[in-house]
C-alpha cells in the first residue's frame, strides 16, 4: 500500500484505519456517539466521511481500499483512540474469544455452526452470541485475522479446513433439524 496513493487520503481527517476500526466497534454495539467523541468529530463529519470511504471502495476497481479495510478491521483492537471501546453490554466471553482467535478448528466449527443456524431459519450470529458469548463484531474481527493468514497456507491445509467446516456444518444442521422437528425430506429414502 503506497502512502502516496490518493485513494488513502483521509476524508475530513478520518483515515481508513479510523473508519475500519470504527466499523468494527459499531458492529460490536458501540454507539456512534461514542465513536465520534473518541475521534473528536461530530456526527455529520463522521457520516460524510463514512459515505466518502464507501464511495472510494466502489470507485476502486483494483480492490486495494477494501482489502486494506479488511486488514485494519482485524486490527481494530490496536487503534489508539478506538481500540479500548466496549459496547454497553460488556466484553462478552473473553475465554471463548481467545480460543476463537487461536484455535483454527474451533473457529471453523463455529463458522459451520453459524451457517447451519441460518440454513435452519435462525439468526446465526445471535446463536453464536447466546451460546458462546461472542458478538458478531468480535467474530468478524477474528475472521479477518484468519483471512490474513490464508495466503500462507498450502492447498492441502485450505482444503482440510474447508472440509472440517463443512463436516461441522452438516453435524449442526442435523442437530438443529432434530430440535425443530426434522427436515422436509427426512423420510424420503433411496
Amino acid at each position: 500500500m503506497s502512502q502516496n496513493n490518493p485513494l488513502f487520503e483521509p476524508i475530513h481527517g478520518i483515515s481508513l484505519f479510523d473508519y475500519s476500526a470504527a466499523n468494527a466497534k459499531l458492529a460490536n454495539g458501540v454507539a456512534v456517539d461514542t465513536i465520534c467523541a473518541a475521534l473528536g468529530v461530530e456526527i455529520p463529519v463522521w457520516e460524510d466521511a463514512s459515505q466518502g470511504w464507501t464511495q472510494r471502495m466502489q470507485e476502486d476497481s483494483d480492490f486495494i481500499v477494501i482489502t486494506q479495510m479488511g486488514t485494519y478491521f482485524a486490527q481494530a483492537g490496536e487503534h489508539p483512540k478506538l481500540g479500548g471501546l466496549q459496547a454497553a453490554g460488556g466484553a462478552g466471553n473473553a475465554a471463548n474469544l481467545q480460543r476463537l482467535a487461536s484455535d483454527r478448528y474451533f473457529y471453523e466449527e463455529l463458522c459451520g455452526a453459524r451457517t447451519a443456524a441460518y440454513e435452519a431459519g435462525m439468526d446465526g450470529a445471535q446463536w453464536i452470541q447466546t451460546n458462546y458469548g461472542i458478538s458478531l463484531g468480535d467474530f468478524q474481527e477474528v475472521a479477518m485475522q484468519w483471512m490474513q493468514l490464508q495466503s500462507s497456507l498450502s492447498d492441502e491445509e485450505i482444503l482440510e479446513y474447508t472440509n472440517y467446516m463443512d463436516a461441522k456444518r452438516q453435524e449442526y444442521a442435523r442437530k438443529f433439524a432434530d430440535e425443530n422437528g426434522g427436515n422436509i425430506a427426512d423420510d424420503v429414502d433411496f
Binding site: E42, I43, P44, E47, D48, S50, Q51, Q55, Q58, E59, D60, S61, A116, Y118, E119, A120, G121, M122, D123, Q170, A173, A177, N183, I184, A185, V188, D189, F190
Partner: protein, 324 residues
Amino acid sequence: MGLFNRGQSQDDKLQTETIKSELAALESRLDNFLAKLNDRVDLLIAGFIAEAPAIMATDDRFGQAYYRFSSGIKGQATNMREKVREVLETQIEPAYSRYSDMLSAGTDAYRLVHDWRHRCAEKANDWEDQLQNRMDAATEQVERKDYEPIFRDMVEQYMQQCKYVHCTQCGDNLQIAQVYYHSAYVNCPSCNTQNIFEPGVIARDLEQNARKLAEQRSKHFMDAHEQKRAEEEDLYQQMHTLQLKMSFQELQAKSGPLYTQLLALNKQRVAAEDEIPVQLDKYYRNIFDELNGLLPDLKEHHEKFFISLQNNYQRHDSKRSINL
C-alpha cells in the same frame, strides 16, 4: 480376461444380463427417489410463496425476518441436494467402480456400465439444475417489487418532511430543498446558526432504492445478455453433438457437409458470443444513466463507480477456445 475373444461367450452374455438387471433396478430406484424429492420440492416452494408476503409485510427496515425465513427455505433445498449427492456417492458410484474394475474396456458390458453411470449422473445433475431454477423463480416472484411508486413515494415523503424542519436557535424554517443522505450541517437562512439536520430513515434508504429502481428499468438489457449467453451455450452444444457424429477423417480433412454445418453453427455461436459483453455493458451503462437522472447530485461518483465496475466485468470477459 477375454481381451482377444471375438464375440461374447454364453457366460459373458449371462454376466452382461445380470449386470444390466442390477443396474436397471438401481436406476429405477434413483428415478423414484428423485420423483419423491420433487414432491417435497413442490411443498417447499408452495409454502415459501404462501408465507413470505406476511413475513415481509411486518418486517423491519433491513428485512431480517424475511432473510431468516428464506435462508431456512434454501437450507431445506440444500438438505435435499445433499441427499442426492449422497445417493450418487454411496449407491451409484460403488456399483460403477465394482463392475468397471472387473470388465474389459470395449466390451458391451463395460459400455453398458459406463453409459448407466453417465445417465444416472445426468439425471442427478438435471434434478439439481431444475431445483435451482425453481428456487430462483420462486425467490424472484416473492421478492418482486415495483420500485417506481416506492421511490416516488419516498422522495415525496422526504420533501414533505423537510417543510417542517426549524432552526434550533431562532425557530425559522430551514427551507431544506435538497436530499441529504445522512446527517448534515445546515445553516439557518435567517440567523445563520449551524444546525445538525437528521434526514431520517427514508433519506438514508433513498440511494439503495434508487439503485433497485435503476436496475428494474435496465432489466431488459440483462434479459438480452442472459438470452445471448443461453443461445451461445446451446449452439456450442449443437456443435459438440455434431462433432461426435463426425469421423476422425472428416475432422482432419476439414471438409464435407457435416464440417460445413459445423462452420455455420460456429458462425452463429460467435455472433451470439460477441453480443454477450455488449448487452452487459448496455445494462450497466443504463443503470448509471438512470441513477444520474434519479440522484443527479451523485453524478460524479456514479461515473467513477461505473468505470470501476466496467473494468472488473471486462477483465472477466473471455471467449471460448474453439479449434475447427
